[in-house]
């Protein structure tokens, strides 16, 4: 199996394909997180989105998140695909699939992955509204990095 578990892609993401990457005989629980383009954010209407990535580093950071999860949750398998380029409302921006032997771990590890993506993966979103557009920074509202870089996850 030569498929990549962590990838930045330009075409639509198949939920089924990403989820299937982590299905294994020994893991009975799989959680999948699907992030889509929301029409309204705090009452403001989004027309479309554009994602840009520092692709090579983004893949490296996704791989790092996978490693962090393996350190924290025993026997977890993770696959993450993030799409870049222009996306319409309701289109899928990111899919995170995690399989674990135990159910609770699959939820926790998956939520950890999306939180870490929003901290360390060099991907930026430009929102296009009816009356303008803007690059969005700092979704977590934590712009201050006391160490000068994101906090270590492990």
């Amino acid at each position: 199996m030569n498929e990549s578990l962590f990838e930045i892609v330009k075409d639509p993401i198949s939920i089924e394909k990403i989820t299937n990457k982590v299905i294994r005989n020994e893991a009975g629980a799989i959680t999948t997180f699907v992030g889509t383009v929301r029409e309204f954010t705090y009452g403001k209407r989004t027309i479309s989105l554009e994602y840009q990535a520092y692709e090579k580093m983004a893949v490296k950071m996704l791989e790092q998140i996978g490693k962090e999860i393996n350190d924290k949750w025993n026997g977890a398998k993770v696959a993450i695909s993030h799409r870049i380029g222009k996306l319409e409302i309701s289109e899928i921006a990111v899919v995170i699939a995690v399989s674990t032997p135990h159910r609770k771990d699959a939820y926790e590890a998956n939520e950890y992955a999306i939180e870490r993506i929003k901290q360390i993966v060099p991907i930026w979103k430009k929102e296009v509204w009816e009356d303008g557009e803007s690059w969005i920074g700092d979704q977590l509202e934590k712009t201050y990095y006391p160490e000068g870089k994101p906090i270590k996850g492990v």
């Binding site: 929003k118 993966v121 690059w135 979704q139 000068g148 870089k149």
Partner: protein, 77 residues
């Protein structure tokens, strides 16, 4: 020579996605200051710096041949 990659609003402000600077070696902090002074990028206070695809600290040194990236607060997911 050091390559500096720009993304998101920094790329739009600079009007290009890559800058080349001639320098022997400098710290991350020095690079950020130089970028603020020589290019119209605004404050880089909340911008992180990656050196060869790894996040770097203010006191880390950048060598000729390194690929540097200015990483504004990310917003993927």
């Amino acid at each position: 020579m050091i390559k500096v990659l720009l993304f998101a609003h920094l790329q739009e402000k600079a009007g290009r996605d890559i800058l080349q600077i001639e320098d022997s070696s400098l710290t991350v902090k020095e690079l950020k200051k130089m970028m603020e002074t020589n290019y119209e990028l605004g404050s880089l206070e909340h911008v992180m710096v990656a050196v060869n695809e790894e996040y770097a600290l203010d006191q880390d040194t950048i060598q000729p041949g390194d690929v540097v990236a200015l990483i504004p607060p990310v917003s993927g997911g």
